[in-house]
């Protein structure tokens, strides 16, 4: 009886301001989608970052016959004795975790494998174009990078020292910027959604002031008077959320996952990550709509 009555009231309310309800659902859907995309971005960046964390941290490229730097031109390609000395310097440093020598042949093989999906690019590079190098892992990359790098920079046989993180940093910056833009737009839209909820509920309360007036008069409890309005806001929020779930699944499977194919690393977010984002979006949507409805009602349905 009670449930049927409340459901009936909700239906009447939603139908009566159909245009407002539709606007509310659309705005909630879009803002939650953007919020979700922002969160997926964060997760993607984190996943990519942790993937790289365990990889190379410092690459010391050695001089070869093709090296163009002044230093290499003067001294010629690195010799076995130079390589040995560099390796000794590195391994003797307490900050270094491991040192691996990668010969030109190994480097070429790895290059061919990483760009196997782009044979035309591979064909432009010959073995010997890629210099041999030392791949160094540091115990504490943040603190010790400078010390280790300066100890080998300028040594004979060394072409250049490259911090792999500095290459990735640009990529992260790009991703981070995109994420921030998406989150800012999402927050603005969430504010708009909040105002729309307040307005919808106010209109709904106004169009049913006759009913609520009588309910008050005959002694209906506040809870009973407010519940239909509260649920009205929450249901609109849930419908908006359901739409955003569809959009988020599309964004993940059609865009983020496809994007991965263009990179050599495959860090595809799991379904669990998506579910986490979707649940978070639901909490935000329901809380936002519910709390706003509640606060609006306190103002417009005074006892």
């Amino acid at each position: 009886m009670r449930a049927q009555f409340v459901l009936q009231e909700i239906w009447i309310g939603l139908r009566r301001n159909l245009t407002m309800t539709v606007a509310l659902i659309v705005v909630v859907a879009i803002s939650l989608s953007l919020l979700g995309v922002g969160l997926l971005f964060v997760k993607q960046v984190d996943a990519t970052r942790s993937y790289w964390q365990g990889k190379v941290e410092l690459s010391i490229y050695l001089c070869t016959a093709q090296s163009v730097s002044v230093q290499c031109k003067q001294n010629g390609p690195s010799t076995a004795a130079q390589r040995q000395q560099i390796q000794q310097t590195l391994t003797s440093m307490p900050q270094v975790a491991s040192v691996v020598y990668q010969s030109q042949q190994q480097a070429y093989q790895q290059f061919k494998q990483e760009f196997s999906n782009n044979p035309s690019f591979v064909s432009t590079v010959a073995q010997g174009d890629i210099p041999d190098s030392f791949q160094v892992k540091l115990k504490n990359p943040q603190a010790d990078y400078g010390t280790v790098a300066s100890s080998v920079t300028g040594k004979s046989g060394v072409d250049s020292v490259i911090d792999d993180r500095s290459i990735l940093a640009k990529f992260y910056k790009l991703l981070g910027g995109a994420r921030n833009a998406v989150v800012i737009v999402a927050v603005i839209l969430l504010v708009a959604a909040t105002l729309l909820v307040a307005n919808t509920i106010r209109l709904s309360a106004f169009s049913r002031r006759r009913e609520t007036g009588i309910m008050r008069l005959v002694g209906a409890s506040n809870f009973y008077i407010q519940l239909p309005f509260l649920l009205e806001g929450i249901i609109a929020g849930l419908i908006g959320w359901a739409i955003s779930v569809g959009l988020l699944i599309a964004v993940k499977s059609l865009w983020l996952d496809t994007l991965q194919q263009y990179f050599t690393f495959n860090v595809i977010l799991s379904a669990g990550d998506l579910v986490e984002v979707v649940i978070l979006a639901m909490c935000v949507g329901v809380l936002l709509c519910g709390a706003t409805s509640f606060l609006t009602l306190r103002r417009y349905l005074r006892v």
């Binding site: 009886m1 009670r2 009555f5 006759r210 009913e211 007036g213 009588i214 309910m215 008050r216 008069l217 005959v218 002694g219 209906a220 409890s221 506040n222 009973y224 008077i225 006892v303």
Partner: protein, 229 residues
């Protein structure tokens, strides 16, 4: 049943009190007319009984309960024991006679079986038998007021407050309305009726309380409306 003890009510926007040092006592089962010109404080009196307003000063008790000590969430319980009828009927235009009366019980969560039983009884009591399916706009003013009275009485309140119930109704029809109010009063319900209608007050010969500028100027059992009007 209703006790006003030196009650003063001043609305924030007005300097003159709407009620000033009003002490009135209405006993259980009484029928009381509240008369006086517009702005004399009749409506304020009724709103205070419902705790729609709080008195600036003084004490109000309804069926022994001090309203000042009645917490907000218990106010609905108070209102379930008080029925209200207004000049403008306040029916829901999209519900028929039966639904309008049943609405009052639905919103306080009464079981459907109970509603099916008592609503037809009350509709009969106010003299609208056979008109369950009519919509408010298909009814005359008098009939609409009967629906409003049925809705006010369907939960068997202890008190029925009527704010100029005959204000929008012609004199001949008003007699029928008064008969229904009298019938409700005979079931033991206390009735307080604010009115301008001298003919009705004179014909009923009930207790009359006259207000003027927020003060009680006359309280008379078996009274008439008054010479001045």
């Amino acid at each position: 049943m209703i006790n006003f003890d030196n009650v003063t009510k001043i609305y924030p926007s007005q300097s003159r009190p709407a009620l000033e040092n009003v002490s009135i006592s209405v006993e259980k089962g009484e029928f009381v007319f509240l008369v006086g010109p517009s702005g004399s404080g009749k409506s304020t009196f009724l709103r205070l009984v419902l705790k729609e307003e709080r008195p600036t000063d003084g004490r109000i008790r309804v069926s022994g309960r001090d309203l000042a000590h009645l917490s907000n969430w218990r106010v609905p319980m108070l209102r379930r024991r008080i029925g209200c009828v207004f000049q403008d009927f306040r029916l829901l235009p999209n519900k028929n006679v039966y639904q309008n009366v049943a609405f009052a019980l639905e919103v306080i969560g009464k079981p459907r079986r109970f509603i099916r039983k008592v609503v037809p009884e009350v509709i009969d009591l106010v003299g609208l038998e056979g008109k369950h399916e009519r919509m408010p706009d298909e009814l005359s003013g008098g009939e609409q007021q009967r629906v409003a009275m049925a809705r006010a009485f369907v939960n068997r309140p202890m008190i029925l407050l009527a704010d100029e119930p005959t204000g929008n109704i012609d004199p001949a029809t008003s007699i029928g309305i008064m008969k229904v109010l009298d019938r409700i009063n005979r079931t033991g319900t206390t009735v307080v009726m604010a009115t301008h209608d001298a003919a009705i007050v004179d014909s009923m010969r009930k207790r009359v309380i006259e207000l003027e500028y927020g003060k009680v100027v006359r309280d008379q059992s078996r009274g008439v409306y008054g010479q001045a009007y």
